[in-house]
Symmetry: C2
Subunit: 406 residues, 2 copies
């Protein structure tokens, strides 16, 4: 049986980031920059004032105090947005606003709070040094300098930086399109009332939500019936996707036709991964497109998505960091091992002054969605490691970063 | 001067969650459930088999072993999706697939691996107990039971659970619409090359990205010029929003007309908050709609958004947890205090075996976006607390949950 790590390594081996597209800046949020971003101008583009005050020669303020001010004639005014090209001569001052260009010749700004305005002049109540309250041109970046490297994840700060260098459209890896297929005669659409023996196709919605959470685009193919024709038709409908994701239909039952269809259309490996929950996971290619088959039990489907589909989708999207953070937690209660298998136990992790703590969210059978709903983490009970006692330290994979209460 | 906490308390005091709308299930991802969700059927709706095998009376397996099997006639077969209403009589077995309804009268399933198929019969190679490999109806939830409470955040697990109870449309709080206004004669659109004295309006894009990250919808009003008419027109264009968010224009310069317009159209308070970065923050109502005025420096704008706008938007969206997590970090290097003010220092926090560590991201002047880009956290240097030494413990507000490398 494969370990989780071995399965993931095999899964990711042939996956390469999707092609690059130029997308409008805001649509690039949380995506991955595909080429280095270079400043087209200095940032800031010109020396500007950090304060409202007076642009001066620092030398003209020498020795100034409240009791012994220096008086300079005010020969002009420059506001933010003005070109600000009139030079300042020694012995004069120019009224200047925050963000306005520093006049050529001026080498300091004295804040308005340290001045006293007079008719046509200003009294300076303090001395300032060369460069005071001036933001030099190119202080943040020089024209031609790389400000973001390919591979950067575009968070709000990066979006702001790209805006400042005029990147209205940005080269990013295309978002993965994920065709989601459920299989089983028992499945009816969410909006339908199930008849005898039927259940709603809840996995498709859950997987679509997990796909969205990865920044990828779900394409729901609906539920195929347990017939070759139905599965073929569903796969055909998914053409153009970057990943086929199925739930159900890859176990060992007599009615599992998916397996047969997969073997006809591609090279599919059926893996037994040494974990619980999670029965066989299937991986391969269908018509050349990666295919990942998850178990049909909702909880197994949820957990195997997190462990396998999410890193795969992040790699397709160009991300370099692929896995959820795993942190040490102190257990509130005993946690069962799964014998020789690794057990992923749904849990609620919380941060306290002395570190992370975690409690399980109740019964762990793989058809129980409610204990998944309550969870924000998976406690990892190592393969062959036996049960763990209350108070013991374990590792937990964090599914959500919890926000704290105000 | 107000503390950050006092300012936030005042800001949130009059904010109530937005009205409820019924949205398609997937559009509710990461939003807040506005009414309790109740199961319309048992979950699962019927007792079903957890395994491929044979439905039997447990009593009929008593004493069975590999060496001394029990042979039962196989009187039928039930697959997932079959109604499964034919009752099972004592002394017989029914072939059953995973997820198929357990026939009335059967009280256990014996997995196929513990059987040996014969012509028209099956040999049972082990004894099973009553209830074995059966998932009872209502095991996850009972019809009429509340499965999610109002206020729940709808993550993928919750989406799956709602799908299983037929919630194709879900009552959630409306997404906040945020009108984003920048002010300043110096601002040109991102796609334009700035002329002398001009800079690109990068704050609008950055704030829009921050708004999106809160699950809210940005409406960019563009940059208003420093004239009453221009600011009035921009505010008019934002009608119908749930929050006005401005950057710039609320400081003390002669050219700050925003302030005057705000005072004409609403009750606006100008606050000095005891923090750095972050000059005066303005808060109040414009034509009855909340208004939050952030400083114009990109970094001040970024940080004050995180501290003030984000909790406000989360409250509007119905969230109950409003603030970012704050964790103890060990400092890699000395961190400057900001004298009597609280200093928020851009930093890169990382998780190590012994807890969180953090390093600053370089120069901290409030016009330097590049040190924001490198940051995933803000180290909090307490007001009046002085400088902190390398190796000291400090608190840090986490802006991003870092993904780890695989």
């Amino acid at each position: 049986m494969l370990s989780v790590e071995e399965a993931l390594t095999q899964l990711l081996a042939d996956i390469v980031p999707l092609p690059v597209e130029e997308a409008p800046l805001l649509e690039c949020l949380d995506r991955v920059l595909a080429r280095d971003a270079v400043a087209d101008t200095d940032l800031p583009p010109f020396a500007n004032s950090a304060m409202d005050g007076y642009a001066v020669h620092a030398a003209d303020t020498s020795g100034a105090t409240g009791g012994d001010p220096r008086r300079l004639p005010v020969v002009g005014e420059v506001a933010a947005g003005d070109p600000g090209t009139t030079p300042l001569t020694h012995g004069t001052a120019v009224r200047i606003m925050t963000g306005a260009p520093v006049p050529p010749g001026a080498d300091a700004v004295i804040p308005v709070e340290q001045t006293h305005a007079r008719e046509g002049a200003v009294d300076l109540l303090a001395a300032v040094e060369t460069g005071a309250s001036i933001r030099p041109a190119g202080d943040d970046a020089r024209a031609g300098q790389r400000v973001l490297a390919a591979g950067a994840v575009l968070r709000p700060g990066e979006i702001g930086l790209l805006a400042s260098i005029g990147a209205a459209r940005v080269p990013v890896h295309r978002r993965p399109r994920v065709a989601i297929l459920s299989t089983g005669n028992e499945l009816v659409p969410v909006e339908q009332v199930p008849g005898p023996g039927q259940i709603r196709n809840s996995n498709a919605s859950m997987l679509a939500a997990q796909v969205l959470r990865c920044g990828a685009l779900p394409v729901e193919l609906g539920a195929a019936r347990d017939s070759r024709e139905s599965v073929h038709a569903a796969l055909d409908a998914g053409r153009g996707c970057d990943l086929y994701l199925s739930s159900g239909g890859v176990s060992v039952g007599d009615y599992d036709v998916v397996k047969a269809v997969l073997e006809e259309r591609g090279g599919i490996a059926f893996w037994r991964v040494n974990m619980r929950p999670g029965k066989p996971v299937a991986f391969g290619r269908i018509d050349g497109i990666p295919f990942l088959g998850l178990p049909g039990n909702p909880v197994s489907s949820f957990v195997t998505f997190e462990l396998f589909a999410r890193p795969l989708l992040r790699k397709l999207a160009g991300h370099r960091s692929l896995a959820r953070q795993v942190v040490p937690v102190k257990l509130d209660e005993p946690v069962r091992g799964a014998g020789p298998r690794r057990n992923y136990v749904r849990a609620l992790a919380r941060w306290e002054a002395d570190g992370w703590h975690a409690a399980t969210t109740g019964a762990q059978e793989s058809h129980l969605l409610r204990s998944t709903v309550a969870a924000n983490a998976l406690i990892v009970a190592p393969e062959g490691g036996g049960d763990m006692a209350a108070g013991a330290q374990a590792m937990a994979l964090l599914l959500d970063w919890p926000e704290s209460d105000t």
